[in-house]
Amino acid sequence: MDACFYFQLHQPRRVRRYQVFDIGSGAEYFDAAKNADTLRRVAERCYLPATRLLTELARTDGARVAMSISGVLVEQMERATPDTLKSLQALVAGGGAELLSETSHHSLASLRNADEFADQVRLHRHMMKRVFGVVPRVFRNTELIVSDGLTPVVKALGFDAMLVEGADTVLGWRSPNHVYASRSAPSLRLLPRNYRLSDDVAFRFSARDWSEWPLTADKYASWIAANPGDVVNVFMDYETLGEHQHEGSGILDFLRALPGALRRAGVRMVTPSELATRKPVGLLSYPGPMSWADTERDVSAWLGNGLQHAAHERLYSLRDVVLGTGDLELIGTWRALSTSDHFYYMSTKWHADGDVHTYFSPYATPYEAYISYMNVLRDMEQRVAGLKTRLKTEGRRPETKAPARSSRKPKAAKAKAAKAMAAKRKK
């Protein structure tokens, strides 16, 4: 039996309380201080200790895991916690972690705009190359969102495999503990999450009323070994290690003991790119968009109510004009607004999963999240309109509409853009 551990690393740039009176004032959209504070706190509790531990375990026990780090998080780490970024670079360089690809801004673009999706995947790929010196071969979409319409797109972007939710409704009688392929893109391997074993750590680890508490590494390794199939995919937020499950719960000790326990139980640690070379046992079909979130496993956590749809539509209605300005800072800001968390905060699913939503939200109510977000978009609309007039009066023409297929964007322009971004960051 093999086990594949994957961790998601992501922190959004939270929008500050932005009032109607701030529109046109030039006020910042994002709460820079709060975002930096949150990042430092999470880094101290989780990112740094967990990454150092994994680096050590890679050296001593040959432990190997997979990670995906959102572009918005990398940008924030470059500014606020460069040490954390260095520790992650060391982990990757030492072979302890395989990096996966995702959208640069942890967005819901796959549900709304194929061009934007492709752009953000490329941006992330460039960033991984620049920061870590690697080009990921395996893709994981925001919150494991997947559908039959998406898998061919992912394949066309050059990936061998994709992480997906091992939902009962999709698997039916089949086990998640195998490598599958996509029905709509048979050459794309699908790696389904074993949600029971994942949630044992992510949600139940510190639950004292759980009959299996306390969960030891040996017990957990024996469960994995006893599972039928070829590979158990354990996917979760990296923040589980020290933040969601706080340090006092013993989560890091659990992690420290895990590679040894797995070895004793005869379980090998593998990475997604190794699994991508295996022969699939069957085809999986995802007729509607599916994610790893909430009990519904759909996308209703982000696009479940009228507020979320209205905000998301309005954001994307601005895409062409924003890209058309050619203003890199503005485009970056627009993309930071596409991060899925902004829509998650607007969720009005109160019962059961609502508690999880409230725990993560920086706002008192979802309505407050929506009001601030919409005020920000209104300001951005005005800024774009102002920018266009200024360019006109200066006699320069803004780039006309964004290219229909951004893959045809001239490479030189893109390289130039990346260079400019890098130069700016150095400042």
Binding site: R17, Q19, V20, F21, N305, G306, L307, A310, T348, W350, G354, A364, T365, Y367, E368, Y370, I371, M374, N375
Partner: protein, 426 residues
């Protein structure tokens, strides 16, 4: 294994309780009861009594009747059987918490008014308590239930006579009513009454925290029972908008007293008027802040967009909820806030103080800090300008109002649990 063999013959305490409470006779002392209504308490007391009756208990409600006061001392002036299990005794007494102040209105700048109470208040409270002794002797009961400090003395006296357990209900503390200008005599009576009771019911966790911290009431002796709401009164609740179609109406409903924050409503209104061409504001309620609010509207240049209705009847209030686009409740201190429930029942979204008790009970709210007039204005503009937000709020709250948690019988059910604890001890 469950079976006859496992049955043991020993007294079962829970069963005994169940027999005792199968039908309870409740002797209840209130001070605000229809037709006298200064705030939400009258509505809430009536809803609670009706709920208890629906659950098969009998309530004798004793309330002051100011209209008959001063004519031959404190006495029962009317006893009416509303239904088989609800009897209302009206006692001639001037007891009333928000007696219209004869003081001149304070100038703008507020919070200069020293007190809102009558000079003879403590005498009135004692007289009411004397009447309570007599009533307790004449009306057999299993439990005594008193509402707010003015009736605590009456409850104490009634318990002296009958020896039945006393449940003290607190809806608003002296701090809520008077802000920084609390009355030391009332504080003492409120504290002693709560500590003296066999069980305490607070109408929100905010209130519970306050009495535990400030009065040293034992936390595990306090139950929290949020107010419920009954269906609206009968009557034609439809009213065509007096401002014509398409003009959004932002309403304030409540006493014009510092506790309710009507001045913050006016300040926010000025900011909204500056950014919206047609929106109108309606201030529904009476109170001694009216002249200063009026002056302030003139000074801000928004007098043509703000309408003062004076005191409203129940039906008029219901109509106002229905024509309003949004109701704002910027209370400085709000132990519960029935206005929010009433407005949501009428299908109108609310923007309310984050610290109000009702915010604990309802999820689909837009919340603000009462002093943050920019924030209040921002949220008013968002609801008024954004049909998606308004619709979403209406739909979500409508779902929530059908939740049993907020149903009319829930407060009665929880209150009976409290009676049970008062009777048997925790």
């Amino acid at each position: 294994m469950s079976g006859a063999g496992n049955l043991r013959l020993r007294p079962c305490p829970r069963l005994r309780v169940a027999t005792i409470i199968s039908k309870m006779r409740v002797l209840m002392f209130g001070w605000e009861y229809p037709p006298y209504a200064a705030g939400g308490l009258a509505t809430a007391t009536l809803a609670l009594a009706n709920g208890l009756v629906r659950r098969g208990h009998a309530v004798t409600m004793v309330v002051p009747f100011p209209a008959a006061a001063g004519e031959g001392g404190v006495r029962v002036v009317s006893a009416s059987d509303v239904s088989a299990n609800l009897r209302v005794l009206r006692v001639a007494s001037p007891l009333s918490p928000y007696a219209a102040s004869s003081l001149p209105p304070a100038p703008w700048g507020r919070r200069t008014r020293p007190t809102a109470y009558r000079d003879t208040l403590f005498e009135d409270v004692s007289d009411f308590a004397v009447a309570a002794r007599r009533i307790a002797a004449e009306h057999p009961h299993d439990i005594i239930h008193v509402h707010d400090w003015m009736t605590y003395a009456a409850g104490h006296e009634a318990r002296e006579v009958s020896g039945r357990p006393l449940v003290a209900h607190i809806h608003a503390t002296e701090h809520d009513r008077s802000g920084a200008w609390t009355h030391p005599g009332i504080l003492a009576r409120e504290r002693d009454g709560l500590r003296d009771a066999d069980r305490v019911i607070a109408n929100s966790h905010v209130t519970k925290r306050h009495i535990v911290d400030e009065y040293g009431v034992a936390a595990d002796n306090v139950d929290v029972v949020h107010w419920g709401i009954e269906p609206p009164d009968d009557g034609d609740l439809h009213l065509p908008s007096p401002f014509g179609a398409g003009v959004p109406i932002v309403a304030f409903v409540g006493r014009l007293a510092m506790q309710k924050g009507p001045d913050y409503f006016i300040e926010a209104a000025a900011k909204v008027v500056a950014r919206h061409p047609t929106v109108c504001f309606v201030v529904g309620g009476a109170g001694d802040m009216l002249p200063m609010l009026f002056d302030r509207c003139i000074a801000l240049g928004i007098a043509h967009r703000v309408y003062f209705t004076g005191g409203l009847t129940r039906v008029e209030t219901e109509r106002l909820y229905r024509i309003a686009s949004v109701v704002v409740m910027p209370s400085v201190s709000e132990p519960f806030g029935l206005v929010a429930l009433e407005s949501l029942r009428a299908g109108t979204p609310v923007i309310i103080s984050r610290t109000s008790g009702v915010a604990e009970a309802i999820a689909n709210l837009v919340t603000v800090e009462f002093w943050d007039v920019n924030d209040i204005a921002d949220k008013i503009l968002a609801v008024v300008n954004d049909p998606v937000l308004a619709r979403e709020l209406r739909e979500r709250t409508n779902e929530e109002m059908h939740d049993l948690r907020l149903g009319p019988d829930e407060p009665a059910r929880l209150t009976v649990e409290s009676y049970e604890l008062a009777t048997t001890g925790p």
